[in-house]
């Protein structure tokens, strides 16, 4: 037993508080928007928009209105637009309260790797390095292990870093861990997962 993608997204949504400006990454983080409920959350899209709305109805797509994943989206009453320099100014300047991002690897010191695998096709870091360097709180949402069953929560990252010591909280299919002095602290186990299960699946030091 463990959380599925939607349960991980729902758990990540609990991290968000009323009034927050938030940036959601591609993949499971995108699903977080479905679980914010009544909370007043403003989503930033780093290509130059605050107040991102849902996908448009068929036939109402606007080529001038896309998100950072290049998907067609809509605006809301509160929406504002700005250029890329201002967009990353608010990211780097710490105005965005939190970013929820996917990852390939996270280390116990908060190092994050999510942009390249040497020897494989490299597409680029996009805005990920700016986000993790600048936003108030970095929350990683990912599977606890890779497809070979190996831990993605490590003592040290093996892949090139996106940011050094930047992750605050890790939400996986097995539970929730915080980056603290000396390693990771278990905050919560997923339904049907014990602390022993979580430790067994984690290479990083758990304090």
């Amino acid at each position: 037993m463990a959380w599925d993608r939607n349960q991980m997204a729902a758990r990540a949504a609990q991290e968000l508080e009323d009034g927050m400006y938030v940036n959601l990454g591609i993949g499971i983080p995108t699903l977080v928007a479905n679980y914010v409920g009544d909370k007043d959350i403003t989503l930033q899209s780093e290509n130059g928009m605050l107040g991102m709305g849902p996908f448009p109805f068929e036939g109402e797509e606007d080529p001038d209105l896309i998100n950072a994943g290049k998907q067609t989206i809509t605006e809301l009453a509160r929406t504002s637009y700005f250029d890329s320099a201002m967009s990353f100014g608010m990211i780097r300047g710490g105005k965005i309260a939190a970013a929820i991002l996917g990852a390939m690897e996270v280390a116990e010191n908060g190092d994050l790797a999510n942009w390249m695998i040497p020897g494989k096709l490299v597409k680029g870091m996009g805005g990920a390095m700016d986000l993790v360097a600048g936003v108030g709180r970095v929350i990683v949402v990912m599977d606890h292990t890779n497809k070979h069953g190996e831990s993605k929560v490590l003592k040290e990252c093996t892949l090139p870093l996106t940011g050094k010591g930047v992750v605050d909280r890790i939400i996986t299919n097995l539970g929730v861990l915080d980056v603290v002095e000396g390693g990771l602290r278990i905050v919560e186990c997923a339904e049907g997962v014990t602390e022993d299960d979580l430790r067994a699946a984690t290479q990083a030091t758990i304090v």
């Binding site: 899209s45 780093e46 290509n47 130059g48 928009m49 849902p54 996908f55 448009p56 109805f57 068929e58 036939g59 109402e60 797509e61 606007d62 080529p63 001038d64 209105l65 896309i66 998100n67 994943g69 290049k70 998907q71 067609t72 989206i73 605006e75 637009y81 700005f82 250029d83 890329s84 320099a85 967009s87 990353f88 100014g89 990211i91 780097r92 190092d111 096709l121 490299v122 597409k123 680029g124 870091m125 996009g126 805005g127 990920a128 390095m129 700016d130 360097a133 600048g134 090139p160 870093l161 996106t162 940011g163 050094k164 010591g165």
Partner: protein
């Protein structure tokens, strides 16, 4: 002060040189200077370095300039959508300088604002920091990034008056203002050119001082990822 030209080719006349650095606006295929890219393809100018967040897709946007091998080097943050790009890059025909997206935008903005370098915490402790000066401010490390001073900027806006005062539409603004600012010369294409006084001066996104040549044309505005929801879900 004549800024309005009859075509993209006329607007670029005398501005193109082999080996030049061009800053291009756009994010993905949104807000890209389609008409100016086509005219640069037709000009045959080569060995270009292009600073642009993305590299278009196969056969559209900057992808057209890759198909014709006119680009020597790209300065970008994300290039995943282009098979020809990857082929040229992996075979060593094309140079690639990855820039974090915000660093690329700020390098353009800084260049346009006369700032040759700035310190940022983006990329500290990563491959991006290799070979760059590190300086501490308040006990934290920052790396030195350089402003981009482009020979030419090619950008796209929604509407402009004949003096180049312009407004962008929705997320098609993206890299266009910083790219425009960092060009020694900036050529802009718009969907509609209007007379001065038509646009509200309080609503101008980029003042005409940054725009040297201007054309009007129709745009394909291709959508890269068409995502919709069903009416029932509303």
């Amino acid at each position: 002060m004549k800024k309005v030209y009859g075509s993209a080719a006329e607007a670029l006349d005398g501005l193109l040189q082999d080996g030049m650095l061009i800053a291009a606006g756009g994010f993905g295929l949104c807000g890209i200077p389609e008409l100016l890219i086509d005219a640069i393809v037709d000009s045959g100018v080569k060995d270009l370095t292009v600073a642009s967040n993305n590299a278009g897709v196969d056969g559209f946007g900057l992808g057209k300039l890759l198909d014709t091998r006119q680009i020597k080097k790209m300065m970008s943050s994300y290039v995943g959508e282009n098979a020809e790009f990857m082929r040229q890059y992996l075979s060593g025909e094309l140079e690639l300088e990855f820039n974090p997206q915000g660093t690329l935008a700020e390098r353009m903005r800084a260049g346009g604002a006369g700032i040759p370098g700035f310190y940022t915490k983006t990329g500290v402790g990563t491959q991006i920091a290799e070979g760059k000066e590190v300086k501490q401010f308040g006990g934290e490390d920052y790396i030195l990034e350089e402003g981009i001073f482009a020979d030419l900027a090619i950008v796209k806006a929604w509407k402009a008056d004949t003096t180049g005062n312009c407004i962008f539409r929705k997320t098609a603004r993206n890299f266009n203002p910083p790219a425009a600012m960092c060009g020694k010369v900036c050529v802009m294409e718009v969907e509609e050119i209007v007379e001065p006084g038509t646009l509200d001066p309080d609503h101008i996104h980029l003042p005409g001082i940054y725009v040297h040549r201007l054309i009007q044309g129709s745009h394909e505005k291709r959508i890269e990822q068409r995502t919709v929801r069903k009416r029932e879900e509303a």
